[in-house]
Symmetry: C2
Subunit: 183 residues, 2 copies
């Protein structure tokens, strides 16, 4: 009988919630390592998110400036947001783009997924390209404060290289979108 | 008198630890929003990390396959690891490269920083390019299981596009290294 298990696999032994807050759901598991020893893994359970590379008719990209409390400053980032319970990925991307920037898009392309924090979170961020945008007005969530701005594609690439853009999901989404944007 | 504060700024009111585990340090703060209302922010405090784009003499890049328990599978990723207390960034990058892959490098270039998880962690990952590699042997930490492999630069870019590489720090580090690698 063949053993198809990954030789690196860690097997859960038991699992318990250690903190459930308004935002974070933290678990601690006991796991069996490949050498048979037991160890502890602590991690965040996250519902997943979408991020959107939204291209205006003139080719510029929609960005946001948003204050990120854990790091104590505002970041230049692409529109993004968490998936609601039961929500389809595309519906989430469409909702977040509309709520955060006031735009709807006629053409949507799925580009792939990135995992921002594989050491201590199960978060996945699904990446979409949105084209043929129309401005329909804002509908920000309560407690959501942000500024919408635009960057040209080359300017956005430059901003990654010069450190104005350091947000991981934004860099990953730009990487995956570059081929489509450069066509 | 001019007010230099960012209009998006959120101001801490108080802060408390809500979970301190063997890996995760979780805090909950009360903060004042730009409109004066109070809300809650929960986040991970992280010591920071380094990630290394290490180029072999034949131009291929060192990668690892490592099991990531929160997502229940192995990931293809660049060598990386947490900064020890008091450790210099370059020393951390050099230590992680040696411990995880068995290589030392004569030429190191700092490429920049990425923030993987700005919504709920203060983690920063400092990105280094390592060239002129010499194999000196392995010294893995206890409980560290991984496989070392190599990819060509174009193969690594393809792997981001086809979804074999989804790890955020790896994508960000490749993005920042591409100009140097393509020279």
């Amino acid at each position: 009988m063949q053993d198809d298990r990954d030789p690196l696999e860690e097997v859960p032994v038991d699992s318990e919630p250690v903190f459930q807050g308004v935002l974070l759901d933290v678990r601690r598991d006991r796991v069996r390592l490949p050498d048979g020893k037991l160890t502890t893994r602590e991690y965040i359970r996250h519902p997943g998110a979408t991020v959107i590379v939204a291209v205006l008719p003139d080719g510029r990209l929609l960005f946001e400036r948003q204050f990120r409390y854990p790091l104590g400053r505002a970041f230049l980032e692409l529109p993004a947001g968490k998936i609601d319970a039961g929500e389809e990925l595309l519906a989430c991307a469409q909702r977040e783009l509309r709520e955060e920037t006031g735009y709807e898009a006629d053409t949507w392309t799925y580009l792939g997924v990135t995992h921002p924090c594989i050491g201590y979170s199960d978060e996945r961020i699904e990446i979409f390209l949105a084209r043929d945008l129309r401005h329909v007005g804002h509908a920000l969530d309560d407690e959501e404060f942000l500024e919408v701005l635009t960057l040209g594609v080359d300017e956005a690439i430059e901003a990654v290289h010069d450190g104005r853009i350091t947000d991981g999901k934004t860099i990953a989404a730009l990487f995956l979108a570059l081929r489509a944007l450069k066509d």
